[in-house]
Structures are given as C-alpha cells and as structure tokens.
C-alpha cells in the first residue's frame, strides 16, 4: 500500500498555546483512517492545516500528498487537489436548493451565466450516488440533518473528491442515518476514495476503520492497525486521556447542604428546526454548597441545556419543571430566571458576556442596576464603590475600574463577567467553560472563587470540556451526551476513563 498523505512533524502554536507538537499522520490510499482524541487534543487544528485553513508558513512540518510536497495557502488550493473537509457544523445555505448548494462557488457556468440544465442533471447523478431521494430543487431547510449530511457529501463528490475528511459526521444523526453514512464510506472505499474519519464511537471505528491514530494534547500517541489488531476500548481510552494531572486545584472541603435547585424532565427543541429535540429529558439537581460538574464532548448539549434553563435563552418549545428549594419557579424569561436566583456565566464572554466597549465599572453593575440606583437614578458613588470592591476582591488586574474590558486579558475579562453575576447575588450559578482560554494562574484564581461561592452556601454548576478540571473542583459529576445524561458519579469515584467510558458505552448502546 502506498501513502496518499503523509503529514510529517507538524507543529502549530497559537499565542500562549502549543496546539500541535510534532504530529505525524500517514494515510494509505484507499483506506478509512480514523482519528480519535479528546476535545482540544488537536484533531481539528490538524485537519485545518491539512485543508489549508491555516496556510503554509503558519505551522512547522510538511505535508506530502500524492507523492509531492504541498504548500496550501487556502482551502481552494487543497480542494483543487481533491481534499474535501466536511465540518461538524454543516456549511449549507438553508434557503437555497440542493443543487444551488452543491455547486455553490463551483457553478457550471459560462461567463458567469449558470447552466441550470447541467447543474440539475449532475445534481441528480450525485444524489443517486449518495443514495438521497430528493428533488435537486428541494430547499436545505426542509431536509433533516441526515439528508443534509448526504448533500454535503454529494457536494464533495461534485468537487471530485479524492481524500474526504469527515469531522464527527454522525454526532447529530440517528442510528439508521449513521449506518447509511458508514455504508456510503465503505462504498466510496471500494471506488478508491480515501477517507479520514474523526469519531469517538467505538462501534463505528470497529465497523469501518482500517487504522486509528490517537492524538492527545497535540501529540500523536499511537497508530493502531485494525487489520492486524483487535480494537480494544480500554486501550483507546487510555491513549486518549492518559496524561498526567498537571494542573493544581485549591484544596476543597465541601459542606453540602439541602437540595437547592432542580430541573425535571427538561426538554428543548432546536431553535430553527422545530421538532428536533436537542435536550431529551434531563433531570438534575444541585445542593447548597455543592459544586456539580457536567462533563461531555462538544456538541453534547451542555450549553444548550444551561441557556434554556436560564430564561429560555436557547431553543424553542422548552418544557420541564425548574424548582428552587423545592418550590417551582418560573424561568420563562431571563428577568424571571435572574429574579428566581439563577445566574449563567457564558462560555463566550466576548460575544455574550461583556459590553467590550464599556469599562469594568459598567459591566460589573449591568445585571443589577437597581441595586446602585434610586428611582432609576444611578448613584455613581455607590457604583464606583461596588466596582472597586470586586476589582480588588477578584483581583482584576487593570489600571482602574474605568479601563475598557476590550483591553483586558482573557482571565481578567472572565473575572469581570463573574463579578457581574456575583453582584446580582444569585442562589445558583451556572458557569459554562469558566476557564477556557485563560492561563494557569488565572484558572487557579477562578477555582478559588468557585470554592468561596460554594462555601457561602450557593449551588455551583460547572460545565467544562476539560475533564481534569471537573475532577479537580467538583463534588459530583454528571456526564452528558447527545442531549441526555448518561452518567452520574461522585467526584472521588470518577476518573477520566470512567467519564469517557460512559460516553462511549452510551453511543455503543444507541447504535
């Protein structure tokens, strides 16, 4: 067998982070090559380098494709050579037809005039090849996710694909659709098309993968040849998570009290696709003084759950009960959720958390302006006092409370968002990826704040994709996958292996 693709010694740095360290990947022509790894292991970065999203020169190492070294400077360079990537979030235009989407940017046209006869007849051929029985004129928005996925693949075929990269293609598909997709990959294989499949699902890997490369913390751990070796769940999980615990956490002595907040049978539908459940019946609770973690892979619905609880800020047709101290509360709007004692600290502090153009002072007080105002008139004396208090208590490194939040570092921005919600004085705080993109020192400070909050009798729910973090700061863990809770365990009994195992077992069972 000859290698169609070799990525040799690939390293890539972002400011402050080494995303990839000397990664090697060899894909043989005509095989299905799986890539496994935790969130942040570097899978997507590697694929973005391969497809030219990160152009040549922004990384170290070399890419040899079809026998020659390639230096892609954009996606169109790699597409030109038949390397097509299909992202987890599909890149289709919802209000255009299948045919228009398939040929978007690649229209069969003369002098800018599209030849629709050619476009439609070729679309029909392509749809037949992927086994999709829809009219080329059907609008994308009227198709289910499974069918949309097939349109993406047809689009790849239209570009004469030779190396197809699929990023967790079955994450949002049901069993039948997943199966059909995997069969399609096998069929492509028999026609000589090579595929790279990013997936966590053991049964999928067992079904289609010829080789599996495992990435961890930006490095290649190993490549397993499935033709000669049997796939072993334990081994893959250990490869994926087997790093040393290097982060430090402040000591924590939990004093867990009564049940404080609870949701029962929580169900949420996708905001754009009515009827498609994103959250499929979740029961969870947090006690006073307790830090509860929600683990899960990206796309498992954790943020959607949190935002739907926080005043239906996400989704439609939100159903289920929310209870605070045993009494049912109304969380149908953000104002009511805040009034009931909830706070949600967003994972996306720049677009959802801060008014970047405003200073620390007005960001801190924004969620609780009535507390610094009488009859709608702001007491700037009191406001400055409050802002200065939080600035020193949370150690927000800044020139003064008048510094614009845009110019703060990530960790300090996060402290401003936290201050805002601390000042709103909630009973229960939901922290969504509270330490994403901030340095180790600031992380420790955030963990200390979380400890203090719990010590003062509040309930804290932490959503994080970093499993060591959850293990280090939580008292109890929920594991979430595909809109459901698939595991619950006390933190002292939990381990990364156990968390990964509940996710993978659930996905195995669902198939």
């Amino acid at each position: 067998m000859t290698a169609i693709l070799e990525m040799r010694g690939i390293s890539k740095s972002f400011p402050g982070v080494k995303a990839l360290r000397n990664v090697n990947l060899a894909v043989e022509a005509g095989e299905i090559h799986a890539i496994c790894g935790e969130n942040g292991a570097g899978k997507s970065t590697l694929m973005k380098i391969l497809s030219g999203v990160y152009p040549h020169g922004s990384y170290e190492g070399e890419i040899v494709y079809q026998g020659a070294e390639r230096r892609f400077s954009s996606i169109s360079d790699s597409e030109h050579l038949g390397i097509i990537i299909i992202h987890q979030e599909l890149a289709l235009v919802p209000l255009l037809s299948i045919a228009e989407n398939i040929f978007l940017g690649n229209e069969p046209a003369k002098l800018g005039v599209i030849d629709w006869d050619v476009a439609f007849s070729r679309t029909r051929e392509l749809l037949a090849r992927v086994g999709l029985k829809e009219s080329p004129r059907a609008l994308i928005t009227n198709l289910g996710v499974g069918k949309q996925q097939l349109v993406e693949i047809a689009k790849a075929l239209a570009k004469k694909v030779q190396l197809l990269i699929l990023d967790e293609p079955t994450a949002s598909l049901n069993e039948t659709d997943s199966d059909a997709l995997l069969n399609l990959l096998l069929e492509f294989k028999s026609h000589g098309i090579t595929s790279i499949l990013i997936s966590h699902k053991l049964n999928e890997l067992a079904k289609v993968a010829d080789q599996i490369t495992v990435l961890r913390d930006g490095s290649t751990v190993e490549t397993i040849n499935c033709r000669t070796e049997k796939i072993d769940e334990g081994r893959i999980i250990k490869s994926m998570v087997g790093r040393e615990m290097y982060e430090r956490y402040p000591p924590r002595e939990p004093h867990v009290g009564e049940k404080l907040f609870e949701i029962r049978d929580w169900r949420v539908e996708h905001p754009l696709h009515a009827g498609r459940e994103v959250i499929k019946g979740i029961d969870l609770h947090v006690n006073a003084g307790e830090v509860v973690g929600i683990a899960g892979l990206m796309g498992s619905g954790r943020t959607e759950l949190a935002m739907s609880v926080f005043g239906r800020a996400y989704g439609r047709n939100v159903r289920g009960q929310a209870l605070m101290q045993g009494r049912e509360i109304d969380v149908s709007s953000i104002q009511k959720a805040v009034a009931s004692g909830l706070a949600y600290v967003t994972e996306d502090r720049k677009t959802l958390g801060l008014i970047l153009n405003d200073d620390i002072r007005s960001n801190v007080t924004l969620a609780n302006l009535p507390a610094i105002a009488w009859n709608g008139v702001l007491d700037d004396h009191r406001e400055a006092t409050v802002a200065n208090q939080y600035r020193s208590k949370l150690n927000i490194r800044s020139s003064s409370i008048l510094q614009r939040t845009l110019t703060l570092s990530g960790g300090n921005q996060q402290k401003v968002v936290l201050s805002k919600w601390l000042f709103a004085n909630p009973q229960v705080l939901i922290l969504d990826e509270p330490t994403r993109g901030i340095d180790v020192g600031a992380k420790y400070e955030i963990y200390t704040i979380i400890n203090d909050l719990a010590a003062s009798g509040k309930g804290v729910i932490v959503i994080s994709s970093e499993m060591p973090e959850l293990l280090g700061i939580c008292d109890r863990l929920y594991v979430m996958n595909e809109g459901r809770l698939v595991g619950e365990m006390p933190a002292h009994e939990a381990s990364q292996e156990k968390i990964m195992a509940s996710i993978m077992r659930y996905e195995g069972a669902a198939q």
Binding site: P15, D358, L369, A373, S398, L402, L406, S409, G410
Partner: protein, 410 residues
C-alpha cells in the same frame, strides 16, 4: 493575544492615554465648531455673531437639536429613524387644523400633538422591537406615510395663522422683569437701554450651575481614585464653557433676550445628559447598543427598551413639529422636509457610532450646531443651496472618517 500584551505592557499608561484620547475627541469636536464659527465670522465680516443672527441661529436649529437628542438614543440603541421629518410635518398639520379649523385652544392642542408624536413612535417602535423589522425599513415606510398624510390633510394649502401664545413657543423671548430694578445698582448705561437683565441672569446662573456640577463630579471621581482629567485641562475646559455661555447670554440679552425655545432646548439637553449618564435606562440603552446579546443575557428587556427609544423619538419629533409650525406661523405640506438628514448627520458628526453603543449628548449638540452654523454662514455668504448640500456632505464624511481612522489606530 494582541490586547493582552498591550494591557500587560503598560497598565498605568494606557489609562492616562485613554482619558486623553476620549477627551481629545470631545475637545476636537468643540474646537472644530469654534474654528468653523471663527471662519464664518471672518468671511461674513461679523454678521455671524451679531446678536440678531445668533438669535436666528438658535431659532433655526433648536428643533434639529431637540430631535437629535432622541435620535442619539435611537442610534445608540443600534437603530435609525428616517421618519422624523415627516412626523414634524404631520404633527404640525394636525395641530394647525385643530387650532384654525376647529378653533381648539392652543394648550390642549400642544398636549394632543405631543401624544400623537409619541403614539406614532410607539407604532413604529413596535414594528422594530417586537416584529423585528429593520428600523431602516419601518421608518422609511413611516417617512412616506406621514409625508403623504400631511399632504392629504393640508391639500396643498398653508394653514394658519395661530394664536400669539402658540407662536411664542418658538418666536417668543423670556419676559424681562428685572430691568426696572437694574438702575438701582448704579449707572448701567454701558449695557444699553434695552439690556435684558433677566436673560443675562439666567445665562450667568446656567454657567454657575455648570461649574458647580462639574466641580462636584470631578471631586467625586478623585475620591474613588478614578483617574480624572488633568486639573489644568478640567479648569480650562470648564472656563471656556462658562465664558461661552456668559458671552452668548450677553449678546442675546443686548438684543431681545433669551428665546423661549432656547430655554426648552437647554432644559432638554440637561435632561438627556442626566438620562444618558446618570439613569439606569440610559445605561441600559448603551449596553443594548454595545452588545445586544450580552445585554439580553444580563436580564435587560431589550425589546421594550428599543420600543421606548422610538416612543421618545416620536414625542420629541412631535415637539419639534409644534416648534416649526409656531415659527412659520402656519402648517405647510413641506414642513420638516429632509430634517431627518440634518438630525442624523448631527448625531454622526457628534461622534455617535453607526453600529450602536457609542455617542454623547454634548457631542450631538455640538454636531447639530456645526451643521447649523454652516447652513447659516453659507446662506449669509449667498452660497447656493446645492453647493451647501455638497459642503455639508463632505463635512459629514470627513468627521466620520477622522473618527473611524482614530478608532482603527487605537
């Protein structure tokens, strides 16, 4: 990340530069107004700053300033209102019909007209805030609808004249009751026979009030170790403002005194400064325009807030409609034509950001007077109306260009 290094490298210096930079914008704007005034004062050989012309300048620009206050809130909230000129015409036409054709007394007519303006704003605001139609489209519709209705009501006629009291909303002056007593203080012949002492007193009190409140704020900021403007700058700025106010009051008092409409405008400017800087609703509008999603997730009712900015705009446009009608002493089908352009231009010259979240009352007032002085100066010089459009357009473009290139540097 780029800004992290900036923040880490010079934590103390950036703040000082920041204060300078934000203030520089304000001072730059004020300085340009003064330069433009000096320029036209020279070219018109002193006509521009003659008491009678200053009075005219105020009468001509008051309604633009008043509407710019409402437009500022709309723009800060991330929207635009193109319909204000047509609302001016429409409200004026209704008020005129009620007073002239139906002989309704002027006081209830004023109340009804303001209510009508607010209702129009409420209707347009509903479409923008709750039906989520872009404000550009809603108010473009409103602009056509109310211009059309104005024409239909007036049928191409001028409707007037109005009662004296109504006219004095716009063309009246502060009555003078101090002058008889003024001579008791000695020989004041220096000020002339008809010097309006009441007006002068109001002007001087206004300047004193300004000095008092800024001094109070400055002390407060010092207390909280917020970095304030450097002391000389603070003193200099306030001294210039005080001198300007007293100087203009003197000029106006030596003619017919302070116009009523100046008092209305001044009171509204103070009110909106207070609302934008000191009230929760003002703070929330800025947050909404700065980042609508973040504001929403902070528990702010963004829809209601957007709606409120439109109600407020309608109310102020209604008031402007009355002022314009009172000034012309008749309602005309073309009253208020293209006012929206001057109002919006005033906001952008004054430093409001088209993407929302940024803009100050003082900036907008100065912006309105930049437009006003140019209108007035060029008219005195006999420059054709079409060339005036060209010049105003270039000034608008230049002001925003300077603004944006400064921001991109920062």
């Amino acid at each position: 990340m780029k800004h992290e290094t900036i923040a880490a490298a010079a934590p103390s210096r950036t703040a000082g530069v920041g204060v300078w930079r934000t203030n520089l914008r304000d001072y730059g704007l004020l300085a340009s107004l003064l330069v433009i005034m000096a320029f036209f004062e020279l070219l018109t050989s002193g006509v521009l700053l003659a008491p009678v012309n200053i009075t005219n300048l105020i009468l001509q620009n008051s309604y633009i300033v008043i509407m710019a206050l409402g437009m500022l809130l709309i723009i800060v909230g991330g929207n635009i209102d193109l319909s204000v000129g047509s609302i001016v015409g429409f409200v004026g036409a209704i008020a005129a019909t009620l007073m002239v054709d139906y002989k309704m007394p002027w006081v209830p007519v004023v109340g009804l007209s303001l209510l009508l303006g607010a209702l129009i704003g409420a209707a347009q605001g509903w479409f923008v805030a709750y039906a989520r139609i872009p404000s550009f489209i809603v108010t473009l519709g409103g602009m056509l609808i109310f211009r059309g209705l104005t024409g239909n009501i007036l049928l191409g006629q001028f409707v007037g004249p109005f009662p004296k009291e109504f006219q004095s909303i716009s063309s009246g002056f502060i009555p003078d009751f101090l002058s008889p007593y003024a001579s008791a203080f000695g020989d004041l012949a220096l000020f002339g026979q008809n010097f309006r002492w009441t007006s002068m007193l109001i002007g001087v009190s206004g300047a004193a009030l300004l000095l008092f409140t800024s001094a109070r704020r400055w002390r407060r900021e010092k207390e909280h170790t917020i970095e304030t403007e450097p002391f000389p700058l603070f003193v200099g700025k306030n001294a210039i403002f005080a001198i300007l106010i007293v100087g203009f009051s003197y000029l106006l008092s030596s003619y017919r005194g302070l116009p009523n409409v100046l008092i209305t405008m001044g009171a509204l400017i103070l009110l909106y400064m207070f609302v934008t800087t000191r009230m929760t609703i003002g703070r929330r509008i800025y947050a909404l325009g700065g980042n609508r999603l973040a504001a929403q997730l902070s528990g702010i009712r963004t829809e209601r807030l957007i709606w409120a900015t439109f109600v407020n705009m309608g109310l102020l446009a209604g008031l402007a409609g009355l002022i314009v009608a009172a000034r012309l002493n008749s309602a005309t089908p073309s009253a208020g034509n293209s006012f929206e352009l001057d109002v919006i231009a005033a906001c952008f010259i004054g430093g409001a950001s088209a993407s929302g979240g940024v803009g100050k009352v003082m900036g907008v007032v100065i912006g309105a007077f930049v437009m006003g002085v140019m209108n007035n100066g060029m008219s005195i010089l006999g420059i054709g109306i079409y060339w005036q459009y060209v010049v105003k357009g270039l000034v608008l473009l230049a002001a925003v260009y300077v603004d944006i290139s400064q921001k991109n540097q920062g």
